[in-house]
């Protein structure tokens, strides 16, 4: 064939993103900067016109406004700190009480990450088991659902009684909460192989192993990462719930215990500070997962293709 070179254009006919993959966290907003008639059309957009900058600046602006309103409301209405502390007081508490709060953060983070790792490994292994045969999946899937629908708060006391080591008990509780999205998404992903590609592999006499490594696992990745994003948040929720139920104090106390204790002592600023740390942990986890997804799928999967 002749060496005719076509211009490389971004493909618009990508396969639609799989349903189980959440949409990109932040939708790319339309440029806000009004195009003045004199502005040349193809110049690099100004700093605020770039979607990357907007993605950071816009939510930040909302945050600043909300915190300012909060501060003003507390000051103007003279709300007592034992009902609603001001953001300023919350930040002061965060600094003055950093030693217990920071330690508690480390404990909660440890349980969250441990349980997240356990859930990921176990979930992937169970998914591989499920896709081996439809019979295994049919027999076992209802139990996976059962695990998911039983509230962890109801099961946690039992686990805490059975498992002596509090860290292990709390890790199991949180892992149970985070497990299901990994199982369901990875199973779906391992089954969502382009039928034509599958036929092509068979036509070329690909072994089962070759099909798994070269076709099924890469096809499952977008679904798997979708599951990871959901599960990372659930692991944190699970860890906090487990801490509440376990109520462990002392050196092994997590952020949930700090909240409980602050509640008993009516130390509401400290409660808010602990709450802030939990929220920030969740956001950090989500951001880490989004970054990981971008690293793994950026460039080829429709959900992560650059829209800039």
């Amino acid at each position: 064939m002749s060496a005719v070179v076509e211009s490389a254009v971004p493909a618009t006919s990508q396969r639609p993103a799989p349903v189980a993959v959440p949409a990109p966290a932040v939708a790319v907003a339309a440029p806000v900067v009004e195009a003045s008639p004199r502005m040349p059309a193809r110049r690099r957009p100004p700093l605020l016109g770039r979607p990357r900058v907007q993605r950071v600046v816009y939510p930040l602006l909302v945050g600043v406004v909300l915190v300012a309103l909060w501060q003003i409301a507390v000051t103007a209405m003279e709300l007592p700190p034992y009902l609603v502390p001001s953001p300023l007081l919350m930040m002061q508490t965060l600094v003055t009480d950093w030693v217990p709060l920071g330690n508690a953060l480390l404990v909660t983070l440890k349980i969250t990450l441990l349980s997240f790792a356990v859930a990921t490994v176990a979930g992937v292994l169970i998914s591989f088991l499920f896709v081996q045969s439809k019979r295994i999946e049919t027999a076992l899937f209802p139990y996976a659902v059962l695990l998911q629908v039983t509230p962890i708060v109801a099961v946690a006391p039992l686990i805490i009684i059975w498992v002596r080591n509090p860290t292990a008990a709390m890790t199991i509780c949180a892992a149970l909460v985070a497990l299901f999205p990994i199982i369901s998404n990875t199973t779906l992903g391992l089954r969502s192989v382009d039928p034509d590609l599958q036929a092509y592999f068979r036509l070329n006499r690909a072994t089962r192993w070759q099909q798994l490594v070269r076709l099924r696992i890469p096809s499952a990745l977008p679904y798997f990462f979708g599951g990871l994003r959901i599960s990372s948040g659930l692991a944190l929720i699970g860890a906090v719930v487990a801490e509440f139920v376990a109520g462990t104090g002392g050196s092994g106390a997590g952020l949930a215990y700090q909240i409980l204790q602050a509640g008993f002592q009516l130390n509401i600023p400290r409660m808010f500070a602990a709450l802030l740390l939990i929220s920030l942990t969740g956001v950090a986890l989500f951001a880490a997962m989004a970054w990981l997804t971008q690293r793994a799928l950026g460039g080829w999967h429709a959900s992560e293709l650059s829209q800039d």
Partner: protein
């Protein structure tokens, strides 16, 4: 009406009363007898549902005939292995791995057959140059246009140096200009590499332009109704497409297609 291949030529594909009925009773294809000689460019032409893809997939061994047999190089399809002569299949859509580079996609059949990496890469470079994509070896499929993706798919088909190329409406989703270009390139390749090609299409013009022989098929139930030899010299150029002979062939196929779609077999 069955046009035999030239008597001296060796058969590449023999379809011996192969038929396909789906478990729900749908007759996808009535028994077909067809012999395709080495070096022929045979087009399966017909409306949707005439079983042309079914026939092609049976030749490839992707579908089992309900009854009858298919031989490729005088052997049952399932016994064709990687050591001997090879066939390649090109799908209607590019069917590439979106996560892998053009190079990895094209090397796939070699990797699956256990060809060493170095030798594989050399062959990939060769076929990528052939389809004019040597500058895009490292690109991901999503960075290429539809026509370029289709070329990658064809390169993947050619990298195993096949003797028989099976193509299922490969240019059906492309715009007309790109399609003409790829048609011409395919024809040049067929002459140069002395391939045997079975090509599925529903375009009369594409069939006349490409083929040495056209197998006309009809739907409900799917069947072969007529065959036409397009005995026009090669190389065929754009001039051929506006020649009176071209129109004459196109007209005959058109009439046959109309007849086939009006008369139903009981």
């Amino acid at each position: 009406m069955n046009v035999p291949p030239p008597a001296y030529a060796k058969p590449a594909v023999e379809v011996l009363s192969a038929e396909k009925t789906y478990p729900n009773g749908t007759q996808a294809l009535l028994p077909v007898d067809l012999t395709i000689a080495e070096g022929e460019f045979v087009t399966l032409l017909g409306p949707s549902g005439c079983g042309k893809s079914t026939l092609l997939k049976m030749v490839a061994g992707m579908l089992e005939p309900t009854d009858g047999r298919l031989l490729v190089w005088r052997k049952p399809v399932q016994q064709i292995d990687a050591s001997g002569r090879r066939m390649a299949f090109v799908f209607q859509s590019p069917t590439l791995m979106p996560w892998a580079s053009v190079r990895t996609n094209v090397r796939l059949p070699l990797d699956l057959a256990g060809v060493p990496r170095g030798e594989g890469d050399a062959r990939v470079d060769e076929v990528l140059a052939l389809v004019g994509l040597d500058r895009f070896a490292a690109a991901l499929p999503s960075a290429l246009s539809g026509g370029m993706q289709m070329r990658v798919s064809i390169a993947r088909g050619l990298v195993t140096r096949p003797d028989l190329l099976l193509m299922d409406e490969p240019f059906g989703a492309l715009d007309e200009i790109t399609r003409h270009k790829l048609d011409a390139e395919l024809l040049a390749l067929w002459r140069e590499k002395k391939l045997t090609v079975i090509f599925v299409t529903h375009s009369i013009h594409e069939a006349v332009f490409l083929s040495t022989r056209v197998v006309m098929m009809a739907a409900r139930p799917g069947r072969v109704v007529e065959q036409f030899v397009i005995d026009e010299p090669h190389p065929r150029t754009a001039d051929f497409m506006v020649s009176p002979q071209f129109s004459r062939h196109a007209r005959r196929l058109q009439d046959s297609l109309l007849r086939a779609s009006t008369e139903q077999v009981s």
